[in-house]
Every structure is written in C-alpha cells, then in structure tokens.
C-alpha cells in the first residue's frame, strides 16, 4: 500500500478491485439500451454469480468485460485499467488475466487439445518446462489425457467444456469469466463443474459466472445478482 493511500484512504482503491463498473450503459447491435446505470464491484478473492434469462444481456456483459464491445456510457475499470476507452494495449493485458469458459470463449479449431489448453501460457511467454508441468496437471485434473492430441471438432460437448476449464485454469488467471457453466453437461460433469467452482471460489481467485439457471450450490465468497429492469439487483 502506498504512503498516499495511508494518508488519503480511498485514493488508489480502484487498483485493488478486479472489476469496477460505474454507471455503465450498454446498447445492443440494434441500438437498444440493454443495461442502464450498471454498477458492479468485484474485489480480489470474491466472485459474482449473475443470473438472467435468455436475451437479458449476459453475453453483452461478457463482451464488454473482455473488450469486445464498447460501452455507451460510464466506465469499466479492470485490474486498475480503464478499458472503456478501447485502448488495445490495456485490453490485451487484461485478457491475459482472464480465463474464459463458455460460448464466447471457444477453442481454436486448428489446434490440438494440448495446444489449446497451453495457449494462454504460450501467449504470455511462459517457460516451456512450466507449460509442460501445468499441462500434465490440467490434463489429469479434467480427464483429458487420452484426448490430448485430438482436435476440438472430435470432442464431445462435455470434453469441449472441460478443455475450456483447463485452459481457463492453466495460467492461474486471477479472474474467470464463465458463461453458462453447466449448460449441456451430464450429471457427472455437472457435479464436477460445481466442485470446480467451489474450489475456485475458495482459492483466492475470482469468478464472474453468468447463468440463465440459478446455481443450487451456494458458492463461498460469492455475491449473487439477478439481471432485472436493465440493471443488476
């Protein structure tokens, strides 16, 4: 903590937050306002689960958090960097700290399962030995050892999802954005994903989980929101 922060509490607080959405308005492609005056704070180690029906704007929110879409007004500060301005360097640096799972975060079709999982580490320039060690761990943890050399087109929906989880975890990314975590999973995988979410929630990492169906298991260190009236409640 800097001396300035000790003298003047509050200064530099935004740097402590993983996500700060301040009076954010988001429009869809048709120009309709989907969110108005949106506010959200996510501190390190805490997670949020946002529930909303289909078409409520969950995907738009993910697009804004990953810099894929510009907001109409307000500001989005992530990891202390304002990404509302669309500055490419800031967005790229933030994306490297995010592990994504779900619809928006597909796998690279031309790369094998192994390459897809280790891609965040390749991009961030991690040493090869570290990559290999963590890859082995991820393949084992998500039961993907036999699928390591296969390509995404040959995976089942559950396997595809497991590869996304492995990729989102391999770099110890501090923030996970998960779009519909349990969609299309069988009961065994469903249980496994819930265990994974609990594990992440207590690990000190943070999550933003967007789901259309409420998660029955209560996740520790987690705040719950509902999308209603173009805002989070």
């Amino acid at each position: 903590m800097s001396i300035l922060m000790l003298i003047l509490p509050g200064i530099g607080m935004d740097r402590e937050l993983l996500i700060k959405l301040d009076s954010v308005s988001i429009k869809n492609d048709r120009g309709d306002k989907v969110f108005r005056d949106l506010k959200l704070l996510v501190e390190p180690g805490r997670s949020v689960v946002i529930t909303g029906s289909s078409g409520s704007g969950k995907t738009l929110l993910i697009e804004c958090l990953t810099g894929l879409r510009r907001i109409h007004s307000g500001s989005i500060v992530m990891f202390g960097k304002d990404i509302s301005s669309g500055r490419k360097g800031a967005i790229r640096s933030i994306r490297r700290k995010i592990g994504g799972v779900g619809g928006a975060f597909g796998l690279v079709p031309s790369l094998s399962v192994s390459e897809n999982i280790r891609m965040p580490m390749i991009i961030s320039g991690e040493r090869n030995k570290v990559q290999v060690d963590r890859l082995r761990k991820m393949l084992a943890e998500f039961s993907l050892i036999k699928r390591a050399g296969d390509f995404p087109s040959s995976l089942t929906r559950v396997e595809y999802s497991m590869v996304q989880y492995a990729r989102a975890s391999i770099g110890h990314q501090p923030l996970l954005i998960i779009d519909e975590p349990t969609a299309g999973l069988d009961s065994k995988s469903f249980r496994r994903v819930l265990d994974f979410l609990v594990k992440v929630a207590v690990s000190g990492r943070s999550m933003v989980v967007l789901t259309s169906e409420p998660i029955e298991t209560k996740l520790p260190n987690t705040d719950y929101y509902q999308i209603a009236n173009r805002a989070l409640q």
């Binding site: 933030i94 928006a104 031309s110 790369l111 390459e115 891609m119 390749i122 961030s124 090869n128």
Partner: protein
Amino acid sequence: MTRITYIIKETFRNIGRFPGTALASVLSLTLLFLLFDLFWIASMTSEKFYDSLLSEIEMEIFLPEDLPDSSIADVSSSLILQEEIFTADYISKAIAREELERLVGIDLLIGYDSTNPLPRSFIAKIEPDFLTLEDMDRLKDKLQQQIPGTEIHYSRDWLQKAESTRSLILQVGLVLGLLILLATVLSSANSIRLMAKARAQGFHQMMLLGAGKTFVAMPFLIEGFLVTMFSTAAGWGILMYGRQKIAFTQFEIIYPVNDQIVAFCLIAGLLGAISGYIGVYKYLK
C-alpha cells in the same frame, strides 16, 4: 512451446494444411519471377551491347584551312584538356589521303600533291560517361567556340535513336516490374487470405486470450516470405539450369551476379511478407 516455436510450427502447419493452395501459389509466383528474370537478363545483355556500340562513337573535328600548322599542337593540347575527351588523334592531310585511298582502293589525288583538298582533322574518343546526346552536343558547341571555323561531326542520329530505344526498354522494364510486383502481392495475398479465412474463428479466440495481432499474423508473414523467396529462387534455378544446357556463341548473355540474385530473392521475400500481412489483416480486426 515458446512463442517462437509456436509461430514456426504454425507456419509450416499452414502450408501442410493447404498444400494445394501453397503449391499453386509457388507455381504462379515462379512463373511471374521467371518472366521478370528473363527481362532482367535481356535488359542487362542489351545494355552491355549498347555500351559496346557507344564506345565506338567518335567525334571528328575538321580544322579550318586558314589555321596554321604551327597551331596544331595547341589545338591538340586544348582538346586533351577537355574532360569529355579521352584521346584526340591528329589526322594530317597526308594521313587523310592514305585513309581515302584505303577506303576506295585507289589514290584519287594523284597529280594534286601540292593542293590536297582533304581537311586536317582530329578524331576524338569520348569518355564513356559523356557518351550522351546532351553531352556530345554541349562538347560540340564548346569546341566550335574555342576553335572558330571548325566543323564537327559525330553519329548524332544514331545516338538519338539508341538513347530513345534505351529509354523505351527502361520504361517497359519499369512497367513490367510494377505489374509483376502487383501480381506478386495480389497472388500471394490472395492465397494467404484463403488460408487465413479458414482460420478466422481461431484468430478471434486467440486474441480473446490476449494474443496480439503480430503474434497471430506472424505465421502468415513468414509463410508469405518463404513462399515468395522459394518461388524467386526456383525461377533462378530454372534459368541457371537452362544456362548450363544452352550455349550462345553469337553473343554473350549477361547474368546478374550471385549477390544481386540473393538480394533479389530477399527483397522478393520481404514483398511476400507484406503480402502475407495484407492477406491476414482483414481477419485481425
């Protein structure tokens, strides 16, 4: 896997995934460069031929009758001092008469020994750098001012035609070079665009993981560089093979030196890399 390892692996995978497209690209580029190489050789050969013809050009400076023989040495010195003149040989009336006899096979001036009407002259060889129409005309004017009454002749019409032909060859070469440059960029960019199009979804996902445009585009840039450089080298390979098999005895064919060929291949490779970026750019937005 380091970033560099990934980029290299991905480059060769691109070629492996679309071997037909890569082969078509190599073949079309090889033909284009072969055409360019042939023109390059033809222009170098014609340039050499032109230079050898130019070196034959002489300037004849006919002295006025009233100029005393005692002044010949001064005129000779004055000619040699001109920067444009390489050598100046004096042709006396007697030498001129011998030359005339040699040309027609009979001495036409028998009986006119004391009144030889042939003029005294100097035959000047010109420095290669000044063998242009403009320089020759300037030299002629200068000499006529320095030695009043002189009459100066050189193959002006031939030089004019030779210069316009040379200029035409240069213009055709430039147009051809630009056309081949454009065709190379378009052909290479188009084949890379086809490969990139099939992978656009993957680009989006990689950029969502924080990959920069350079990282995503680099395999395509390297591929453009390699394919174009290989095509250029293949074009030269075909020509060199032909050089060994076919021998011209009538005239000497001038080939570029190895350094020039290597530099040309590298420049073509860079052009290919630019084409690669053009091909992939659309999908990086």
